[in-house]
């Protein structure tokens, strides 16, 4: 750590510290979970994940948490993506290709409406 030589230096450190704090506290309103078990990866979940991250990056979105989960026992429906918005119950989508990601992100994550045709009914 180099010494702080001025108030400006100090303010910069503060900004950086705040950023780190935000990383720690980031609890977004939307939580997107990608099934990343061996079955999911085999079915193309990595591409699904990349498409989600790409969507967030190109649209400069914030407050969205993207995590993975393991096999949930529906291997034939992989790649599986689950979306939970705030307090609402979690919605599970199956056969989520990068194209479907575009719709889920736009209509559900941003628009707030789940897309019936891709929902996995258990």
């Amino acid at each position: 750590m180099s010494a702080v030589k001025s108030l400006e230096d100090l303010k910069r450190i503060k900004e950086r510290a705040l950023e780190k704090k935000q990383v720690k506290a980031s609890s977004g309103s939307a939580h997107v979970i990608v099934g990343m078990g061996t079955c999911g990866i085999a079915a193309g979940a990595r591409d699904t994940m990349k498409a989600i991250l790409k969507y967030i990056e190109t649209n400069n979105l914030s407050g969205i948490i993207v995590t993975q989960t393991g096999c949930i026992g529906l291997c034939e429906r992989e790649p599986i993506v689950q979306v939970s918005m705030g307090e609402e119950p979690k919605i599970t989508y199956g056969k989520v290709t990068p194209d479907v990601v575009q719709r889920i992100m736009k209509e559900h994550v941003l628009g707030g409406k789940s897309i019936q045709e891709f929902i996995v009914k258990v």
Binding site: I13, L18, V34
Partner: protein, 593 residues
């Protein structure tokens, strides 16, 4: 800017570095590239996460998983398991125990947290956490924009008074030290918190040490001091450790040492450990102790502002006083003065102990009533018993009865009724408390802590204790009350320092407000609160006793006899009045008289 779904914070403090933190980071980066995750996961360096002892340590967000003890060999597995598949690797994970903070709960409705605002909220061992909360911004403002005179003006205008007990205006004290033309000057922080049951200062030192350090640097700039000492008692090992870490971090950041923040002002700090003598909370005794001498007070004047440590001008304030200073500079004197009463501004921390539901630390604006502190913040008296008295100001304070519950808690009001603000100990007592016994307890404490340098305190407190002890034992004599009153006057007026001068206060205040209890002890040989063992006796009520034998089986001296299913009997000659039978009886068949 790229979007990272996950951030990995790796500790790069010296211990973790020596245990291979950099190698771990390199391996992580390589593996993330190999598994095509480098665009999704960001690896950052950070300061302390945990104890470093099992390092290297890292935190993975957004999950908030804490890993320790990773080697580069573990990295490929960890990356594919956690970062690719999202499976937390339990064998490296540190399980977080849900910690319950028994000292400092969430702020109650009437609390205002200024000094305690960061305690429990930030990591005290990480200076960046403090900086994120506007830490050292006040110092930046002071060094960049204000002259020492302006700083003193601001503190004077805020009305901040010494939080150690006496309540001398902090700005005035600084002014006195500034005006003396004799160098070098010294700055002392009194962290020798010794009142029974009080731990406000410890909590600030352990939870937010940088606020005290920042306040001290500002004060040092104001008076022109070049070296500071924090005198902390050795019974606070965690506070000492936290302070030392904080001081080192501040030095590394250039906030202590030469040319602070690029200015021409230089100041450094050192922790001195006290050996736990209560009298070292008195400033001249404290100074003697720092100098390596026996911790004994001396006569004043000359005051420390003129001739203090090593015979040089010295400013001494306590932990809470300094911790208030950065807030005053950032938010302005008017903000601070908007809290409190006309003469007592700001907030005060109290350690509430005794028979109250929520014991622990609170911070309230001055001018609040005792009733509000005890009932609204403290939740009222335990077990729905009645309030009897509040002991405020530590062993030098006074006991206030119920009629003062609506008294405003500020320096003048408390002094006017024979108590004092003190450093913030507040002991609440319910109806089952014997006030003579309380006076005896505090006198036992001060008598023990008297340094023995001056006769009134050394011998006076001993004689006071002897009288109180014999009253509690039922051997009180006619004239004992008058003897106590006379002795209190002599000890209070003739002792050298605050310890002896304040020692009679608990006796004077209990004599004033609970004189009938003293009289009952002396004349009727009766303890109204049924506390003093020599004055009470236990009896079994025949009609209620079922003869279950539980008391007889639990009596440690076999003083209880009786046949099964027949009323039992306590032999008063054998009974040691321990009260165990009363506790174990399921039928309330034991009476105390």
């Amino acid at each position: 800017m790229a979007y990272f779904r996950s951030h990995v914070l790796v500790c790069v403090d010296p211990v973790c570095l020596s245990r291979g933190a950099h190698e771990l980071i390199d391996a992580l980066q390589d593996e993330l590239v190999a598994q095509d995750l480098i665009n999704e996961i960001q690896v950052l360096e950070t300061s302390r996460i945990g104890g470093c002892a099992d390092g290297p340590e890292m935190m993975v967000y957004p999950e908030g998983v804490h890993y320790v003890g990773l080697t580069t060999d573990d990295v490929p597995y960890l990356v594919s398991e956690h970062f690719l598949k999202g499976r937390i690797v339990e064998r490296f994970r540190v399980k977080v125990k849900p910690a319950v903070d028994e000292e400092l709960g969430p702020a109650q409705a009437k609390e205002v947290r200024v000094v305690l605002r960061n305690c429990g909220e930030i990591d005290p061992e990480n200076i960046e956490d403090y900086i994120a909360e506007d830490g050292y911004m006040a110092l930046g403002k002071v060094l960049g924009e204000m002259s020492p005179e302006q700083v003193i003006e601001e503190v004077l205008a805020s009305g901040l008074r010494g939080r150690g007990g006496a309540g001398f205006p902090a700005g005035k004290k600084w002014q006195l030290a500034r005006n003396v033309q004799d160098f070098p000057k010294y700055l002392i922080c009194n962290a020798d918190e010794g009142d029974p049951g009080a731990f406000m200062n410890r909590r600030v030192l352990e939870g937010d040490p940088h606020s005290v350090i920042e306040g001290m640097i500002i004060a040092a700039y104001a008076i022109g001091a070049s070296q500071g000492y924090i005198y902390c008692r050795a019974e606070y090992p965690l506070a000492v450790k936290t302070l030392k870490i904080a001081i080192q971090q501040a030095r590394n950041y250039g906030l202590l040492g030469n040319d602070i923040l690029g200015s021409e002002f230089s100041f450094d700090l050192e922790v001195r450990m006290g050996a736990g003598a209560f009298v070292c909370g008195e400033e001249t005794a404290l100074i003697a102790s720092i100098e390596g001498k026996r911790g004994e007070p001396r006569t004043r004047p000359p005051f420390p502002a003129v001739k203090g440590l090593w015979g040089k001008p010295t400013n001494n304030n306590n932990v809470e006083t300094y911790a208030n200073v950065p807030q005053i500079i950032i938010n302005g004197a008017e903000w601070f003065a908007s809290m409190g009463t006309e003469k007592s501004k700001g907030t005060k921390t109290f350690a509430i102990a005794g028979d109250v539901k929520n014991t622990g630390l609170v911070e309230v604006p001055l001018g609040i009533t005792l009733r509000e502190i005890i009932y609204d913040v403290g939740g009222g008296i335990k077990d729905n018993k009645a309030f009897k008295a509040a002991q405020i100001g530590g062993p030098m304070g006074g006991c206030l009865p119920e009629k003062y519950l609506d008294l405003s808690v500020d320096y003048e009001s408390l002094t006017s009724v024979g108590a004092m603000m003190g450093s913030g100990g507040l002991i609440v007592m319910d109806e089952d408390t014997c006030m003579v016994d309380i006076a005896r307890y505090f006198m036992d404490f001060t008598q023990d802590e008297s340094c023995g340098k001056c006769t009134p305190c050394r011998i006076g407190t001993r004689r006071l204790l002897e009288i109180l002890e014999r009253i509690c034992e039922g051997k009180g004599q006619d004239g004992d009350i008058e003897r106590l009153e006379h002795l209190c006057e002599v000890v209070g007026q003739n002792s050298l320092c605050g310890l002896g001068q304040g020692a009679p206060n608990p006796v004077i205040s209990t004599l004033k407000h609970f004189r009938d209890e003293y009289e009952a002890h002396i004349k009727e040989k009766r303890c109204p609160a049924k506390v003093c063992r020599s004055l009470i006796s236990y009896e079994i009520i025949d009609e209620v006793c079922t003869g279950c034998t539980v008391c007889a089986r639990n009596c440690p001296v076999d003083a209880i006899t009786g046949e099964r299913r027949h009323p039992h009997f306590i032999d008063p000659d054998l009974c040691i009045r321990c009260g165990i039978c009363l506790q174990v009886c399921n039928f309330n068949a034991i009476s105390v008289s």
